[in-house]
């Protein structure tokens, strides 16, 4: 069952569209904000409310970078792998984070502190290489700066 606040937030978006199903991706983001990720149960709740099948929600959720079908850590690191960051040594930064946290892209640290994901472009190209941790941007990365930044997230 959707919680009252989830339902209220989703209802507020329904007026934007002629059909209920159009609110699906927004609804998934709302529920994800409340529950951290989109479990099977979460999709069933949203599907029942909007009249959309769980399979279809699943196909949309797995299609999008910013919807999580698996539990994620307390902090999500999105490292930009776009061309600019690539030219400015993205791979070295990625390997450094991997080595520091002992996880590869798509994985979560065993203590549940970080999930490490790639992202297409954070529009910080002139501060490449760049990453985002939760809602904070970090650019002009170097291995030293990365260590400093990661230490700030408990």
């Amino acid at each position: 069952m959707l919680t009252d606040s989830e339902r209220t937030e989703i209802e507020a978006t329904l007026a934007h569209y002629p059909h209920r199903r159009s609110a699906a991706s927004g609804a998934m983001r709302i529920v994800q904000r409340h529950r951290g990720f989109l479990s099977d149960e979460a999709l069933a709740d949203i599907g029942a409310f909007l009249g959309v099948s769980v399979e279809e929600l699943d196909s949309r959720a797995t299609f999008a970078n910013m919807l999580f079908r698996h539990p994620v850590g307390r902090h999500v690191i999105l490292i930009c792998d776009s061309d600019c960051c690539y030219v400015m040594a993205y791979e070295q930064m990625r390997d450094h984070i991997s080595a520091r946290l002992g996880i590869g892209l798509g994985q979560t640290t065993p203590d549940g502190r970080f999930t490490f994901l790639p992202i297409v472009c954070l529009a910080q190209c002139d501060h490449a290489p760049a990453m985002q941790v939760d809602d904070d941007f970090h650019g002009d990365l170097t291995p030293e700066r990365i260590d400093e930044i990661l230490a700030r997230y408990e």
Binding site: M66, Q92, L122, A128, H138
Partner: protein, 630 residues
């Protein structure tokens, strides 16, 4: 307030005086500056100004992206438009005391032009800005994006008002046609024609969409417009809605742009409150309802049919066209879709006239284009220039040349759909046709500059990996074809290339371009084809000589310490994370290549340039020399 022409032909924007005649300190709050700490600078100004007793004379305001992002955090002081870049909190006290109270510019905090070493006080005189002509970006970095009054004070919403209350849709379409503006989202389709098609479609319901997905990696113009001047986009859409007869519209914004979403939401609410949006706009009987749709993060959703599927609530996959959106778009209704920058230009065109816009640019590509400059450039940032400016003007003029005095090798335009233009073609004008002739595209405006340390084969591999990841999987050539190309490129960069690989790549590329369903697949081979065209020798060096001329592909390089330059300072040995370097103090150090992980740390820390990366034959030459008895 009027815009003044600068000597260089750029449009100089006048500053908005605070409503009550106060002097003003503008602090850039573009995304890049915010993460560089500009909000702390903002607070420091407020604090110091209050402490100096100036709070009722000086206002501290926030502006959208000012453009020269590499100089942030930055502030501009009204009056002489003094520009203070790279600010730290401790500088603020001096600026307040010396400049605002004492009336003298703080010389040592001014911008220094990298080439000449000259200190420049007024931002309009900085070459990066002086060489621009800002139309789409006219208010970005000038007004407070969260205050509709400031947009209105600079003439905002006058064009929409005129159109809605005095003009016919046909007049608007003719004006846009006459301006010659072409879509800025990549394909460059004439905007007036698109509007005419949508206008001619008869229906009880039409839609107008703004494409703010900006998925092209390396591009951030649209983000800067949406969060620096959201009203310009909204006003352009109002004019478009009236022209084609759409009473409902959506702005589709990337999920990764939270600031743009926030500012657009606020701007829509403000425009509604002022009666510029919603029912009976500007006291007329025209209504236009605008909503925001946040994407969920998928590159292909920027493609117009995928984008509409996503708004409808289906998975964001492209479909084949025709039917075109102008006939059957959102929910099967006639729909017009344009890019953010396209809409942002429209109010200016209406206000200044189609002829003024058409006077800029080239014969086939009128007007200006915004570019995001990034990569190995001195001045990264946001720049708008007349179409037809050359690559040289962008790289060496606006961009200030290559970082660290290195050599310009190529510029990548158009992201994964585009191509690389080599240094030899540096005088190519940047317009749709000239770029297409090089094999690259104008694209949405991302310009990524590569220097001599960028391996073009590896860059091509990177792009293929990108499209491979982002392919939605619906059509076979894109899903499987790009995978096969990627495998070949991976082999080449790993030193396992074979004779015939280049030809195999070209053959696959031709098939994928011809048979893919949407623009993603149709353009995916471009980065490979252009690098083969201009840098074939690099491909051949990888395949036949086991060498990476840029010394970037780690499988093909070996780290080595040059005994002539090594002073035996031991720094590299201390920093090596795997203990691969040995040597006594003041003795030449040696890298054990069996242990070395090629992490590049030693080369970066060496103060004497003694650590070299050898490739191809060089490796054998050194090993022979090492074995020779002393």
């Amino acid at each position: 307030m009027s815009d003044v022409e600068t000597a260089a032909g750029g449009v100089r924007v006048g500053i908005v005086p605070a409503a009550d005649g106060k002097r003003r300190v503008q602090v850039c709050a573009g995304t890049a500056c915010v993460f560089a700490g500009s909000l702390k600078i903002f607070e420091a100004f407020e604090r110091e100004i209050a402490a100096a007793g100036l709070a009722d004379q000086v206002e501290v305001a926030i502006i959208g992206c000012h453009g020269l992002c590499s100089q942030g955090p930055l502030a501009v002081i009204s009056g002489q438009e003094t520009y203070y870049p790279k600010l730290k909190a401790k500088h603020v006290e001096r600026i307040v005391k010396e400049h605002l109270v004492g009336g003298t510019i703080v010389d040592d905090l001014l911008y220094v032009e990298p080439g000449s070493g000259e200190r420049i006080a007024c931002w309009h005189d900085i070459p990066f800005y002086a060489q621009q002509t800002r139309i789409a970006l006219r208010d970005v970095g000038v007004i407070h994006p969260e205050r509709i009054e400031e947009y209105v004070a600079r003439g905002g919403y006058a064009a929409a008002r005129t159109v809605v209350t005095e003009k016919t849709p046909e007049w608007v379409i003719d004006e846009v046609l006459a301006s010659g503006i072409r879509g800025r989202g990549g394909a460059g389709f004439p905007t007036g024609q698109k509007w005419k098609f949508a206008y001619s479609s008869v229906s009880d319901q039409k839609y107008l969409i703004c494409n703010g997905d900006e998925g092209d990696p390396g591009a951030f113009m649209d983000a800067s417009i949406m969060d620096g001047d959201p009203h310009a986009v909204i006003e352009g859409m109002i004019i478009g809605s009236y022209a084609i007869g759409a009473r409902d519209g959506y702005i589709y914004v990337r999920a990764e742009y939270p600031l743009a979403v926030k500012r657009l939401r606020l701007a829509i609410a403000q425009a509604e409150q002022h009666g510029y949006l919603g029912d009976d706009m500007f006291g007329s009987d025209w209504s236009f309802h605008l909503k925001i749709k946040e994407g969920a993060g998928a590159f292909v959703c920027g493609e117009e049919t995928a984008l509409m599927a996503s708004i409808e609530g289906r998975r964001g996959m492209p479909r084949s066209r025709p039917p075109f959106p102008a006939v059957s778009g959102l929910w099967g209704k006639p729909t017009n879709i344009n890019n953010v920058e396209t809409y942002a230009n429209i109010p200016w065109i209406i206000t200044h006239g189609a002829a003024a816009y058409a006077a800029l640019g080239t014969e086939k590509s009128r007007g200006t284009k915004a570019f995001s400059l990034a990569g190995k450039l001195v001045n990264g940032g946001l720049a708008e220039v007349p179409i037809g400016s050359t690559i040289r003007e962008m790289v060496y003029g606006v961009g200030g040349g290559i970082k660290d005095g290195r050599q310009f090798k190529a510029v990548q335009l158009g992201g994964p759909s585009g191509g690389c233009v080599p240094a030899a073609l540096i005088d190519t004008p940047i317009d749709y046709e000239s770029l297409a002739a090089t094999g690259a595209i104008m694209g949405s405006g991302g310009m990524v500059v590569a220097d001599d340390q960028t391996c073009m084969v590896d860059l091509a591999r990177y792009f293929l990996q990108f499209t491979q990841n982002e392919s939605c999987g619906k059509c076979v050539p894109c899903r499987i074809g790009t995978k096969r190309m990627l495998e070949i490129l991976e082999a080449i960069t790993a030193g396992q290339g074979e004779d015939g690989d280049i030809e195999r790549l070209q053959k696959l590329a031709a098939t994928i371009k011809r048979t893919s369903l949407c623009g993603l697949g149709q353009t995916a081979p471009n980065p490979v084809l252009t690098t083969i065209r201009y840098f074939r020798d690099e491909y051949e060096a990888h395949i036949y000589d086991g060498a990476c001329p840029a010394r970037a592909c780690s499988a093909l390089i070996t780290y080595h310490i040059d005994p002539e330059s090594c002073t035996g300072c031991m720094l590299c040995a201390k920093k090596c994370p795997v203990g691969a370097i040995s040597g006594e103090r003041k003795q030449t150090h040696v890298i054990d290549i069996e242990v070395c992980t090629k992490c590049d740390t030693c080369r970066q820390v060496c103060r004497f340039g003694a650590v070299e990366r050898l490739t191809g034959d060089e490796v054998a030459a050194v090993s022979v020399a090492a074995r020779r008895p002393a």
